[in-house]
Symmetry: C2
Subunit: 341 residues, 2 copies
């Protein structure tokens, strides 16, 4: 029982008008008499007319769709970002096309093609961990499709980006541990080809330096930062002749692993070893003790990135901009010496 969609030409015929007139009436053009405008709208309503965006898009060369490429959608950060981004896009009358790279470079290249084929008017992207070169983004640039990087960015002055001040996050977190009296502070770091992990590590070093404490290599451990990595890392630290008094981790997952190990060994948190993570994952307030972490203001990031993208889509040609979002240190039990229950 397919019901044929009413089209502009249907309305035109019915009303003895030219399609162009109907089109203008519908799109709120100025040079249209109030009378015809009303007649058109009324019939459109009656026929439950829905504009065929595809046709309009083809004609105008713009699809009214914006693409978002993320490494994955499961997990706290990216889903929150999406929430913000989608809200902004929809309010501005744009649809959102979603692609996940699954942290895979090859898939990310395909995603870019998908976006181009879908004729999106702009693209928001956070690169996969395995992405080492950026040729596929050149295609986008060549076609003059507005492009905004967020969080995991391609660092280059010509690029539009929204990023978190990861350096500040690392700095504040480490400084907080120092203020709690810790001096030997370890760091769990992530892949060092990604800006975010480089910067978190940088903040850590800066804080230590300000306190005149040298970096000890044996206290800095890099990994993929899963829970298992955190477990292994903690075991390694505890095996040292002089274990650290605290750990600043660039991920909440690995700090949970560390926490597990400490509990198994009946070590107290934070009295024996204080812990602080990164991302303010939802579980950080559910563990025992609660985990101190750095909030990335995910939704704000999504809002900002999408707003920037929309501006680029709507007003042509702008000088590249970078927006930096400030993180917030959330102090919880795992790092607070004097506020244990």
């Amino acid at each position: 029982m397919a019901q044929k969609r009413a089209s502009i030409s249907d309305i035109a015929k019915e009303l003895n008008l030219a399609v162009s007139t109907v089109s203008r009436a519908l799109s709120g053009h100025s040079r249209i008499s109030e009378a015809t405008r009303k007649r058109v709208w009324k019939l459109a309503e009656q026929l439950n007319y829905q504009p065929n965006h595809l046709a309009a898009a083809l004609r105008k060369g713009r699809s009214n769709t914006l693409g978002v490429i993320v490494p994955h959608i499961d997990g706290h950060f990216f889903s929150q970002v999406m929430k913000g981004a989608e809200a902004v896009a929809n309010r501005a009358g744009f649809n959102v096309l979603l692609c996940q790279s699954n942290e895979d470079y090859g898939q990310e290249q395909k995603n870019v093609d998908t976006m181009i084929n879908a004729q999106v008017d702009g693209i928001m992207v956070s690169v996969a961990r395995t992405t080492h070169d950026y040729k596929h983004f050149d295609k986008i640039k060549k076609r003059d499709i507005p492009l905004v990087f967020f969080d995991r960015i391609l660092d280059s002055p010509e690029v539009n980006a929204v990023e978190l001040d990861d350096f500040q996050g690392g700095y504040q977190s480490t400084k907080h541990l120092l203020e709690q009296g810790c001096r030997r502070i370890a760091h769990f770091g992530g892949p060092q080809h990604l800006n975010i992990y480089i910067n978190r590590f940088g903040g850590y070093r800066q804080a230590l330096q300000e306190y005149g404490i040298p970096i000890e290599e044996e206290l800095v451990l890099f990994s993929e930062m899963w829970e298992a990595d955190g477990r292994a890392g903690m075991e390694q630290l505890l095996a040292l002749p002089r274990p650290p008094e605290a750990v600043f981790s660039a991920s909440d997952f690995s700090i949970v692993g560390a926490m597990r190990v400490l509990k198994e060994r009946k070590l107290r948190i934070p009295e024996d070893i204080a812990l602080s993570g990164f991302s303010n994952e939802s579980f950080t307030s559910l563990t025992e003790p609660n985990l101190t972490s750095v909030d990335q203001c995910c939704e704000e990031m999504g809002l900002a990135a999408m707003r920037l993208l929309l501006e680029m889509v709507q007003e042509h040609e702008q000088a590249p901009r970078k927006i930096v979002i400030q993180p917030r240190l959330i102090k919880r039990e795992s790092s607070l010496w004097h506020q244990q229950p």
Copy 2:
């Protein structure tokens, strides 16, 4: 420096062929000589030709895009579902358009219009909590756009749906508690106009009945199931003259709230009160003790729903189908009397 997209007609001109020939060569039509096919592909490659899907869609009346409407994308369940759904869709050459209703009925209605305007070839939807009537879905039916409900479904025999066997989930969970020796078992239930919560509650009752245990009204508490609701619920239960020996909650969030209260009161889990939740949220394996929960096989659900949708899109007119996914009870410390560390 916008680079003009190469089109089929560009290729045709360059090669002195008709557009139709080029189109056929490109789409792997059979009646095309190997020679021309090669020439066409080669030039297409050179010009970095990308098909204009919009034009094809307009012509064919199919957009190659599938829509997904979910209540929200942040959180475990829906993001996992999306992961599965997107994987299937992309593999079949379809794009995915995402809309969130934010658990709001009005927004859900708008989402439906968005999908229709975007000319999606099919729609997958899980309804918002506040959705009480289903008129907006009639629009979709009227247009003969394939529609699949998942998880939170509109229960009607004419509808295509993928759902979890929530009844089984509730039944197994409760039976497990019974097998652990608990007899007075409380239930935290969700809004009773949603099929999922009705069924989880139903499974609970069935299990009790099989053990010849009557339902006690004071042990059954309905709420929105947030953590705070769980706290309040637990307080209420503990204030009873004879508190229960276990709680089966239809949500992991409220069971965490309950856990908090028990710990504050220095009650032991599971010795004093055993706990079991629902959804197998990622934090359930991070709490102490770990939380027993029911895994919803989210990704599988996304896969199944999208596969069903694709079948409907590709082969026309089928009898409505319902697919039921079996949940898995994940037994953890919070309910296991003899396996405490």
